[in-house]
Amino acid sequence: MQIRVNGEIRDFPEAGKINHLLQTLGLTLEGIVVTLNQTILKKTEWDQIIIKENDVIELISFVGGG
């Protein structure tokens, strides 16, 4: 199935969860925020929520800034 991650369409297996996506992308789990269809997810939800077709996910982290 297809999902949109940080603006780009990606293939992702059915029934995968948020933490599965993060692992697939090789992301460390510290200091990351995930939004799913505009909703900000709690970290405790990452291994609970199953990603569905056409879901829009944003993966956000801290960078240097003024």
Partner: protein, 257 residues
């Protein structure tokens, strides 16, 4: 000298807030923060680049430093509010620098949208420090909206031009007593930071001048000393200036009279 800076009830020894952008060498950032003495540093939030994972900036920030998330990238109040909520959800506290900009040439803050964002976020329990164009009415509105400090620009972001807004800053210093005034943006040299503190601003936020110096660690130390010196001069109350000379040595009893 016991002269803490109090922001939202938090007592700070340092009047130097440091931005973490533009550092060429991230590992140098840690030492720069430590040597600066800064207790509050700013960070920003961005989409993760999935092709090229950047280093996690948080890994380079020493413990016991308060992170203040800048809402940079926000073009209006709603976007700034959203960024603040994301920062809090990440679990790194509730200190927010509101920066709302929709002009890409001068990067000037949008005061009206900034007031709206402060109102909402302060009522939601955030500690909100708005970056602003130094305007008295805006500063009063920001205080009324619940800002923990006001952060007027000295000159354009990243321009290193110093205190081009000096007259307006002096008005804010004179009129705004309720919250600290922190000059944010434009300070390019330690002497300009000293000048700001001498004038009576409570603190300065510096990024570009340190991060893009040839030796950021040394420059951070230079700023730290100048900020301390400026504050001490303010507390000592400056002697008055005069158009005419005034001899420093006694005028009578000269050897060749």
């Amino acid at each position: 000298m016991d002269d803490p800076l109090i922001i939202a009830g938090k007592s700070l020894k340092s009047r130097f807030l440091l931005g973490t952008g533009k550092f060429k060498n991230k590992s140098e950032l840690t030492e720069t923060i430590l040597k600066s003495g800064a207790e509050i540093v700013t960070v920003a939030l961005r989409r993760i680049d999935l092709e090229r994972h950047a280093d996690n900036i948080l890994a380079f920030i020493p413990e016991n430093i308060t992170l203040m998330t800048n809402t940079s990238g926000a073009r209006n109040a709603a976007e700034a509010i959203r960024i603040a909520q994301i920062a809090r959800a990440a679990g790194y506290g509730n200190w927010i620098k509101i920066e709302v900009i929709n002009d890409s040439k001068y990067l000037l803050p949008d005061n009206a949208e900034t007031i709206k964002a402060v109102e909402k976020l302060a009522s939601d329990g955030f500690i909100v420090l708005p970056y602003m164009n130094p305007d008295l009415y805006t500063a009063r509105d920001l205080v009324k909206a619940g800002a923990a400090a006001v952060m007027p620009l000295g000159s354009l972001i990243g321009s290193n031009q110093g205190l081009k807004t000096k007259t307006m800053l002096e008005i804010l210093i004179e009129e705004i007593d309720e919250v600290p005034i922190i000059v944010d943006a434009g300070i390019g040299r330690p002497s300009q930071a000293a000048q700001a503190l001498e004038m009576g601003v409570a603190a300065v936020l510096v990024n570009t001048a340190v991060a893009t110096a040839d030796q950021p660690v040394l420059m951070a130390q230079a700023f730290s000393k100048s900020i301390e010196a400026g504050r001490m001069a303010y507390l000592a109350k400056l002697a008055s200036a005069s158009d005419l000379a005034s001899a420093s040595s006694p005028l009578s009893g000269a050897l060749f009279e």
